[in-house]
């Protein structure tokens, strides 16, 4: 049985992004302890003395959603003197990208304390969580332009239209479909699965997956993207 100590002045907070119904959303939980009991807030946690810092958000994600090997990026350190009312606590913010179909919340009665909220409908948050959330969204928007990390928000197999809708949701602007496809074709990091969508009431779209190998080769060669 694990018996390690928590470091009580250092925490992490996580902005967990998902993509559903064509919208970019984030996962919030209702606080069940004081201070700020009852408010929706970012999932967070403290660091064990015998635990690497980067392990903490991964552990928290696993506890909350059951998901392992989640895509995680650091947002930054937040350390204003009075950010946490009880005592001096410095927190490290992270964002995670998950495929929300891997983690559909029960809409039943018991799940009231965990909610997906569209990023433009986020309510008032406790402590400096609004600042952390805003910083995470800004970083995501920057990162997604220069690295193909958006795939982490989609299922294994996806259509080009889904991918475009995702980019439009994150960057909050319309993208020309023909140019988008041309750019993707040129970069060549999509693997054509030679499969079609099923059970759709219109022309079925082709399915693709992300070609990670190809992407890593390009990065080594110093290739740079810009969506």
């Amino acid at each position: 049985m694990k018996e390690s100590l928590l470091i009580d002045n250092l925490s992490i907070d996580c902005v967990i992004f998902g993509f559903d119904e064509g919208k970019l959303k984030a996962l919030f939980i209702k606080r069940n302890t004081e201070p700020c009991k009852g408010m929706m807030s970012l999932p967070g946690g403290f660091v064990y003395v015998d635990e690497d810092l980067t392990h903490v958000p991964a552990r928290r994600l696993k506890d909350l959603t059951g998901l392992k090997n989640v895509f995680l990026r650091e947002v930054g350190a937040f350390g204003k003197i009075d950010r946490y009312p009880e005592r001096r606590v410095i927190t490290i913010g992270y964002y995670a990208l998950i495929n929300s179909s891997d983690y559909k919340l029960d809409v039943g009665a018991d799940a009231q304390d965990v909610r997906w909220i569209s990023v433009d409908e986020v309510p008032e948050l406790p402590f400096d969580h609004t600042e952390i959330f805003d910083a995470a969204l800004i970083k995501l928007r920057k990162h997604v332009r220069y690295e193909p990390i958006g795939y982490n928000l989609l299922p294994e197999k996806f259509t080009i239209t889904q991918l475009q809708t995702l980019y439009e949701a994150i960057l909050n602007k319309k993208i020309d479909n023909r140019n988008f496809r041309k750019k993707l074709a040129k970069i060549g990091i999509l693997k054509d699965l030679k499969e079609k969508q099923k059970n759709v009431s219109h022309r079925a779209a082709n399915l693709y997956s992300f070609n990670k190998k190809k992407y890593e080769t390009l990065v080594e060669k110093g290739y740079t993207f810009d969506f």
Copy 2:
């Protein structure tokens, strides 16, 4: 007299970049306490309980170089279990850009414990300082491509050739002079000072300064750079 407490499990470390003799350099200090006494290392420090986190690197810079209002960016949090041998300490890395002509080290005898070292000649460093340094350099290279932060490394008045040499040093590649000038002219964030270099043994170059106002206007309009 200030009598506040240091938080002993949270520190900051600073990669201080300067540009001199056409080379990108960083400032290192020789440790005068154990552990690792005598090794060159990144300047760092601990956080006071009544001090905002972001104030710490600014204070350290001021103590070390006398410079205020230095350009500072966060690199990230470094929190491996055994990164610091004595006890569990998590550190936040920052990088700073300073105009090294504002802070010329005495090359005399007393300054042996502080040195500018070219970024491709950095020696072995204690703890995880190599990791922090590498991360800082990677971030600088990324940031400099999308924001005109390089100006912080140059004197108030500079020539376009100096600016180009700076970019070449940071990005470690040759840039076409004609296109570099065209791009600058188009962006229009340089203010032509209508002044010339003096005491040079060739045609004197025109001097410019950075037009911060213009830059901020462009950013508001959503302009994006790519050098």
